[in-house]
Symmetry: C2
Subunit: 145 residues, 2 copies
DNA sequence: GTTAATTCCTATGTTATAGTTAGGATATAG
DNA sequence: CTATATCCTAACTATAACATAGGAATTAAC
């Protein structure tokens, strides 16, 4: 599977923050109850998103997280990359350590690069605002793991 | 990773059959030497492709495999699905056993379905003929795992 | 017919990753 | 002070990826 639970939960976390934004920090406990994801797991995911600058934390009692910008300014691609790292569909396109010693001779690499491009084009073209559009209070996904 | 070695090797196997087609069966041993993939692993992959009807085997000495149709009649999507099964980027879109009990309430499912669509559109739009286009004898990928 | 080469079938092992839980340190509102 | 949070990172478990292995069945060539 290309996108692990971490990436999917990150998107739900961000959507939850966007939907429930009333001007104060939202705790992971609240998100946990709404989204049915353990606080401990959410902590790790929030850590990634925070390090990327996409959410801002307040520590201590009454603490929690908020978005750092408006929902329409996040692409889903950014959110997923913050938690999943590289979204390459195949190992041999990994930027960091391209382990394929013969990429220049490979018949199939152009195809994979094209697929990678198609994926990025799609995910970068959808914003967090698009994701939460049309959501009402009953549309908070609690069971989708 | 979305596409495992099996799917990538399947595409290279098919490309090898297409490139080296001179009217007789090609053994996995030959493909193994050109592509640097073990015969034993190729056997499993060829089994999948054969069951899908994409290649035809001849058993015994001088046996091997051939394509069952011209390269431009295979989409890469078909080849990948034959070995990888479902190419859904997320678990909750798996057709067979959609384990998400609240898909109808899920905020993010539309996004994932859109991504799935973008992936399928791309991979179904490229043929095996496209993949081998421009290949000469030096362009057989031997090291790309 | 015997041999060598090949596909066919499926079991087994090994390694890596996903998915999660856990513990305790640090910070802050009340 | 206490309760409630985030923060940091280690550890565990289950699953899947990635192969290797063994032997049966089939066939061309001699």
């Amino acid at each position: 599977m290309m996108i692990s639970t971490k990436g999917r939960y990150a998107l739900r976390l961000m959507a939850d923050l966007a939907l429930n934004d009333v001007g104060e920090s939202i705790s992971l406990k609240d998100i946990s109850l709404r989204q049915d994801i353990s606080v401990k797991y959410l902590e790790q995911i929030a850590g990634n998103l925070s390090k990327a600058g996409y959410i801002k934390s307040s520590r201590g009692a009454k603490g929690g997280y908020r978005l750092t910008k408006e929902p329409q300014k996040y692409s889903v691609g950014d959110i997923l990359r913050a938690t999943e790292g590289n979204l390459s569909p195949v190992a041999c396109l990994n930027d960091e350590e391209n382990i394929c010693p013969r990429a220049d001779q490979c018949l199939t690499i152009d195809f994979w690069q094209g697929l990678y491009g198609a994926i990025n084009t799609y995910i970068d073209g959808v914003t967090l605002a698009d994701v939460i559009k049309g959501a009402d209070n009953s549309q908070k996904c609690n069971g989708c793991k």
